[in-house]
Subunit: 160 residues, 2 copies
DNA sequence: GCTAGTTGCTTCGAATTCGAATAACTTGCT
DNA sequence: AGCAAGTTATTCGAATTCGAAGCAACTAGC
C-alpha cells in the first residue's frame, strides 16, 4: 500500500512547512528569551494551565521522553523559572509549578513568538483557510491520539 | 500583535499532529530499517532525484545544519548506503550518490513508512480534505521559503 | 600571478536527546 | 499483612545536534 501523488505532495508540504516554522520559532525564542522551543512549550503549558502539573502530565503534552523532561526541568528550575515540589496525593509524583519570573519571561517572548507564527504561517492564509486548517488538523490530532500506542500495545482494561 | 483563539488552536493542532506523526515515523524507520528520520529523508531524496547531489543541496532540502549533515553522511557511507566522490566542476564540492544497497533499503522500509503516514495522517481525511490540506500547506511552504533569511540579524550588539 | 574575500565541507566542543537501568512509592491479589 | 506488578521520576551512557573555527578550493581585483 503506497501513497498516491497527491498524498505525497500534501505530506511533504506539511512536514517541510512545519520544519521551517519550527526552525524560525527556535531562533526567535533563543534570541529574545534564551529559551529553546521545548522550554518555551513547557513554560507556556504551565502558564496557561490552571495550576501545577506532574512531570508525566507535562511530558504527555509535549511528546517528550521522561528523561529529557527531567533534564529540562532541572535547567528551568536552576534558572528560577519553575519550582518542583512534592505531590499531595502521591509521594513519588512531582508537582511542577511556574514562578512569577517564569510567567514574566513567557509574557516577554510571547509577542515575538506570535509575530513569527503570524508572519510565517498565517500571513498567506485567509481567515476561512485558518478555520479549515484548524478543523482538519484537530481531527487528525485527535485521531492520532486515539490510536493504539505503536508496537506491542500493553493490554489495557477493556474500553472505558 | 497577538494571535486570536482560532489561530492559536490551529497552530497547536498543527504542531502537535506533526510532532506525533514524526515520533511514530521515527519508530517505524528504526524498527524496520535501522534508520533515523533524517537518514531516511536523505536517502529518499537521493533515491528519487535524478542523480548525485552536493552536500549543500542535500542540506538545503532537509533544513539541516552542514555539520550535522557531514556527520550523517559519514554514518551512511560507513553503512554502505551512499558514496561520496569529487565533483567534476568544483574541486571542493562533494557529490553524494546513493548505492544499490541504499536503494534496496529505501524500498524495504517504504511500504511501512507509507502505511504509518496513511493510517495516522490520511485515515481521518477525505479525498477532498487531502487536496485542501495540500493546497494550503504548499502555499504556506512557498511563502516561508520566500521570506528573507533568518540569519540576517539587523542588530547584533548584545555582546553578552 | 598574488592577495583578499567567498564558498563548500569537515572538525571540534558543548548542549540536548533518548532508552535502559535504578530507586521510591502505590496498587492489587491472595 | 505481604509480596508481585505497575507507576513516577531520576541517573547514566551513547548518539545526535548545532555553531564556531578551520581548511581547501574558487573568484575577483590588482
Amino acid at each position: 500500500m503506497t501513497l498516491d501523488a497527491r498524498q505525497l505532495g500534501t505530506y511533504f508540504a506539511l512536514m517541510e512547512a512545519v520544519s521551517l516554522l519550527q526552525h524560525h520559532v527556535e531562533q526567535q525564542l533563543r534570541e529574545e528569551g534564551g529559551l529553546s522551543s521545548v522550554q518555551f512549550q513547557l513554560l507556556a503549558r504551565l502558564a496557561h494551565g490552571p495550576g501545577a502539573l506532574t512531570m508525566t502530565e507535562l511530558a504527555d503534552g509535549v511528546v517528550y521522553s521522561r528523561s529529557g523532561l527531567t533534564y529540562q526541568a532541572g535547567l528551568l528550575e536552576k534558572a528560577g523559572l519553575i519550582e518542583r515540589g512534592p505531590s499531595p496525593g502521591d509521594e513519588r509524583a512531582i508537582q511542577v509549578a511556574i514562578t512569577q519570573k517564569g510567567r514574566d519571561l513567557v509574557e516577554h517572548v510571547l509577542p515575538g513568538h506570535a509575530e513569527v507564527v503570524r508572519s510565517m504561517l498565517f500571513d498567506p492564509l485567509a481567515e476561512a483557510d485558518v478555520e479549515t486548517l484548524g478543523t482538519l488538523m484537530n481531527r487528525v490530532r485527535d485521531h492520532m491520539r486515539a490510536l493504539p500506542p505503536r508496537s506491542a500495545a500493553p493490554r489495557r482494561k477493556r474500553s472505558e
